[in-house]
C-alpha cells in the first residue's frame, strides 16, 4: 500500500506544502471533501427537483391540451356552452360554478372561523382552548370523500327539507309583495345543488382558516394586548382594537388559503353539486365546478380524444387559478410564519 502523493491527486489548498504529505491523510481528506460535495449537491438536486415538478406540471398539462388550446383559444374560458357532442367546449359554466361555490363557502366559513380563532386564542381559558383546538382540527383529518358520503346521506336531505323551503318562501313572499322574486332562491328544491355544495365546502375550509388565523393571532406581541388591557379594556375590546388590527394581514392570508382549498376540492363537491353542465340560475340550481367536471366526465371519452384534452385544459385553468391564489396567500402569510425564526447558521 505505498501510494505516493502524486497518485492521491493534487494537494488540497489548506495543506501546508512544506510538511511531508501523509498519503493516508490525503486520501481521507479528499474522500471527506468528495462526500461532502456529493451530499450537498444531492440535497440541492432534490430541492431543485421540487421546482422542476411544479414546472413540469404546467408543461405537461399544456402538452396534453394542445389541441383545444389551439382550436378554441380564449373562447375556451369565455364560452358558456359545453357540448361535447357538437365539439363545443366553453368552460365558463365550470369557472362560474367554482367561483360561486367558493365565494359562498367563504361567506359561511369566514365569520365562523374567525369566531373560533378569536375564542381559542384570546377569550377562552387555556385549559378549554387547547382540547377544543384539537377537536376543531380533527375536522381537517376527515377525508374529502367521507364528507361527500355524509353530504349525500345527511346534508342533502337536511337542506332539502329544513333549510331550503323557508328560503323559497322568502322568495315567494318577495315576489308577492314587491313583484320581484329574489333570483337567488328560485326554482325547485332537490337538495343536490350549488347551495349544498357551498355549505359542505364551508365546513371543509373552517379548520384551514381558523388554524392559520390562530397562528396570526398568536404572532401578535403580548405587549399589544397588555397595553389595551392596562387602559381598562375588556378582553373583547382588547381583541377588537389592538389584536385583530395587528393580525389582519395574516388573517387575510388565512382566508385566501381557505379559498384555495375550496377552489380545488373535488370529491365532496362532486357528490353534492348535482352535476349539470350549464350555469345555475339560482342557489338551488345544479352546477359543476372545474374539479367536479374532471371527476365526472373524464371517462366519457377515450384517452387522447378532443373531449379528454378539453378536460385537461380545464385542469390547467384550475391549476393556474389555484397557483395565483396560493402565491398571493403565501406572500401574505410568509412573513408572519417565516419572519420570526432567524437563520440557523
Amino acid at each position: 500500500m505505498s501510494v505516493g502523493p502524486s497518485a492521491a491527486g493534487p494537494d488540497p489548498p489548506d495543506a501546508p506544502p512544506s510538511e511531508p504529505a501523509n498519503p493516508f491523510r490525503l486520501i481521507f481528506r479528499h474522500r471527506v471533501r468528495i462526500l461532502d460535495f456529493l451530499f450537498r449537491n444531492s440535497t440541492l438536486f432534490f430541492a431543485v427537483g421540487i421546482l422542476a415538478i411544479l414546472g413540469t406540471f404546467v408543461l405537461v398539462l399544456v402538452e396534453g391540451s394542445k389541441e383545444p388550446i389551439l382550436r378554441y383559444g380564449l373562447n375556451f374560458v369565455a364560452g358558456s356552452t359545453w357540448s361535447p357532442n357538437q365539439a363545443i367546449f366553453g368552460a365558463l359554466p365550470f369557472i362560474f360554478g367554482t367561483v360561486m361555490t367558493s365565494a359562498l363557502a367563504l361567506v359561511f366559513a369566514v365569520p365562523l372561523s374567525l369566531g373560533i380563532a378569536i375564542f381559542l386564542s384570546e377569550l377562552a381559558p387555556k385549559w378549554i382552548a387547547e382540547p377544543l383546538g384539537y377537536i376543531v382540527e380533527l375536522l381537517a383529518a376527515v377525508p374529502s370523500v367521507v364528507f361527500g358520503l355524509w353530504g349525500l346521506a345527511v346534508l342533502v336531505p337536511f337542506m332539502r327539507d329544513t333549510v331550503d323551503p323557508p328560503l323559497r318562501s322568502v322568495n315567494a313572499a318577495a315576489s308577492h309583495a314587491i313583484h320581484y322574486p329574489i333570483p337567488l332562491f328560485a326554482g325547485s328544491v332537490i337538495g343536490q345543488d350549488v347551495f349544498t355544495a357551498s355549505v359542505i365546502l364551508a365546513i371543509m375550509i373552517i379548520p384551514t382558516i381558523s388554524a392559520i388565523s390562530r397562528e396570526a393571532l398568536r404572532a401578535v406581541p403580548a405587549a399589544q394586548r397588555e397595553a389595551a388591557l392596562s387602559l381598562g379594556a375588556t378582553s373583547w375590546e382588547a381583541t377588537r382594537i389592538s389584536v385583530l388590527n395587528y393580525a389582519r394581514v395574516g388573517i387575510v392570508g388565512a382566508i385566501i388559503l381557505g379559498l384555495g382549498r375550496a377552489v380545488g376540492e373535488t370529491m365532496a363537491v362532486t357528490m353534492t353539486i348535482g352535476n349539470s353542465d350549464s350555469i345555475p340560475n339560482s342557489l338551488f340550481g345544479q352546477g359543476q365546478t372545474i374539479a367536479s367536471l374532471i371527476a365526472n366526465e373524464f371517462f366519457n371519452d377515450t384517452p387522447g380524444s378532443l373531449y379528454v384534452s378539453a378536460i385537461i385544459e380545464a385542469a390547467l385553468v384550475l391549476l393556474i387559478i389555484t397557483l395565483v391564489i396560493n402565491i398571493g396567500a403565501r406572500l401574505l402569510v410568509w412573513r408572519l410564519v417565516k419572519g420570526a425564526g432567524g437563520p440557523v447558521e
Binding site: F46, A47, P143
Partner: protein
C-alpha cells in the same frame, strides 16, 4: 351614567365571548354528525372479515333472498397499503433531502424560492395532480400504461413531497446550532454531522411530518380515480390498476344497491377511525416533544 356604560361594556364582552364559543360549537356539529352517521350506517358491517373479504356484488333484496351479502373491503385495504408504501418510498427520502438542503445549505435566493414554492405546491388541488400524472404517463407509456399502481403511487408521492420537505425544514431549523458546532468541533465532516447528528436530533418531528403526509395521501380519492383506477382483486403488480380505500367509498357510496352503500359506510368508518387515531397520536406526541 358611568356605571351604565361599564355594564354595557361588560355585557358586550360577555356576548362576544358567547358568540365566539357558539362558532366553535357550530363547527363541531358536522364533525359529531359525521362520526355519528358513520357509526350508525357503517358500524353494523364492521368485523374482522369485513377487512379481509372481497367486494360485494350489486344485489337488491328479493322475496327469495331478503338479505344481500355485505362482503368487505379486503382488496381496498391491500391496495391502499401497497400504494402508501410505494408513495412513501418515492416521497420520503427525496423530501427529507430537499428539507435538509433548505435548512442546512440553502440560505440564498434559491433556497427561499424553493421553500416558497413548496408551500404553494401544498395547495395545488389533488385532482390536478391526478390529471398531471395521468397525462405524464399517457405521453410516455401510451393509453395502456396509464392506469397502474405505479401512476397512483407517483400521484400520491407528489402530494406528499411538499409536506415532508417543509416539516423536515422546520424540524431541522429547531435543532440548536450548538449541536452542529459540537459535531464540527469533533472533526466530523459536514455530511456526517447532518446525517447522524442533526437529523437524528430532529427525527421525532420529521416522523410527524411523514405521518401527516401519509395521512393526507391515505385520504385522497380524486387523484387515484384518474391513476390507480381500482381493481376488484386488490394489488396485482405495478403496471396493473390497483384498488384503494377512498375511491371505493366514492364508487360504492354513489351506488344504487343498499349493500354496497353499507360497505361504503363501513369503509368510511374504518378510514375515519384510522385518521382520527393518527391525528390524535401525532398531536400528543408533538406536544410532549415540545414541552
Amino acid at each position: 351614567m358611568r356605571f351604565d356604560r361599564n355594564a354595557r361594556r361588560r355585557w358586550m364582552n360577555w356576548i362576544m365571548s358567547a358568540l365566539a364559543l357558539l362558532c366553535v360549537v357550530v363547527a363541531l356539529v358536522p364533525l359529531g354528525s359525521i362520526i355519528y352517521t358513520a357509526v350508525t350506517f357503517g358500524g353494523h358491517v364492521l368485523s374482522f372479515s369485513f377487512l379481509t373479504s372481497g367486494y360485494p356484488l350489486a344485489c337488491s333484496p328479493t322475496p327469495s333472498q331478503p338479505t344481500c351479502p355485505v362482503g368487505g373491503i379486503g382488496p381496498a385495504i391491500e391496495g391502499t397499503g401497497v400504494l402508501l408504501a410505494l408513495s412513501s418510498l418515492f416521497s420520503v427520502p427525496p423530501g427529507i433531502l430537499a428539507g435538509v438542503y433548505l435548512s442546512e445549505f440553502g440560505r440564498g435566493r434559491l433556497g427561499r424560492s424553493v421553500s416558497f414554492f413548496t408551500d404553494v405546491m401544498t395547495g395545488s388541488p389533488s385532482i390536478v395532480v391526478g390529471i398531471f400524472v395521468y397525462t405524464l404517463f399517457f405521453l410516455f407509456f401510451g393509453p395502456r400504461g396509464v392506469f397502474s399502481a405505479l401512476s397512483g403511487a407517483v400521484a400520491l408521492a407528489i402530494l406528499m413531497i411538499p409536506i415532508v420537505t417543509r416539516t423536515t425544514e422546520e424540524a431541522l431549523r429547531l435543532v440548536p446550532n450548538s449541536v452542529r458546532e459540537a459535531a464540527y468541533a469533533l472533526g466530523i465532516p459536514r455530511y456526517r454531522a447532518v446525517l447522524h447528528v442533526v437529523l437524528s436530533a430532529a427525527r421525532g418531528a420529521i416522523l410527524t411530518g411523514v405521518v401527516l403526509a401519509v395521512m393526507r395521501a391515505g385520504g385522497e380519492a380524486a387523484p387515484l380515480l384518474l391513476t390507480a383506477l381500482g381493481n376488484p382483486f386488490g394489488f396485482q403488480g405495478l403496471t396493473q390498476p390497483s384498488a384503494s380505500l377512498p375511491p371505493i367509498i366514492f364508487n360504492f357510496g354513489t351506488s344504487a344497491y343498499s349493500n354496497q352503500v353499507a360497505v361504503a359506510w363501513g369503509a368510511a368508518l374504518v378510514l375515519i377511525i384510522i385518521m382520527l387515531c393518527i391525528s390524535l397520536t401525532v398531536r400528543f406526541a408533538l406536544r410532549s416533544k415540545l414541552s
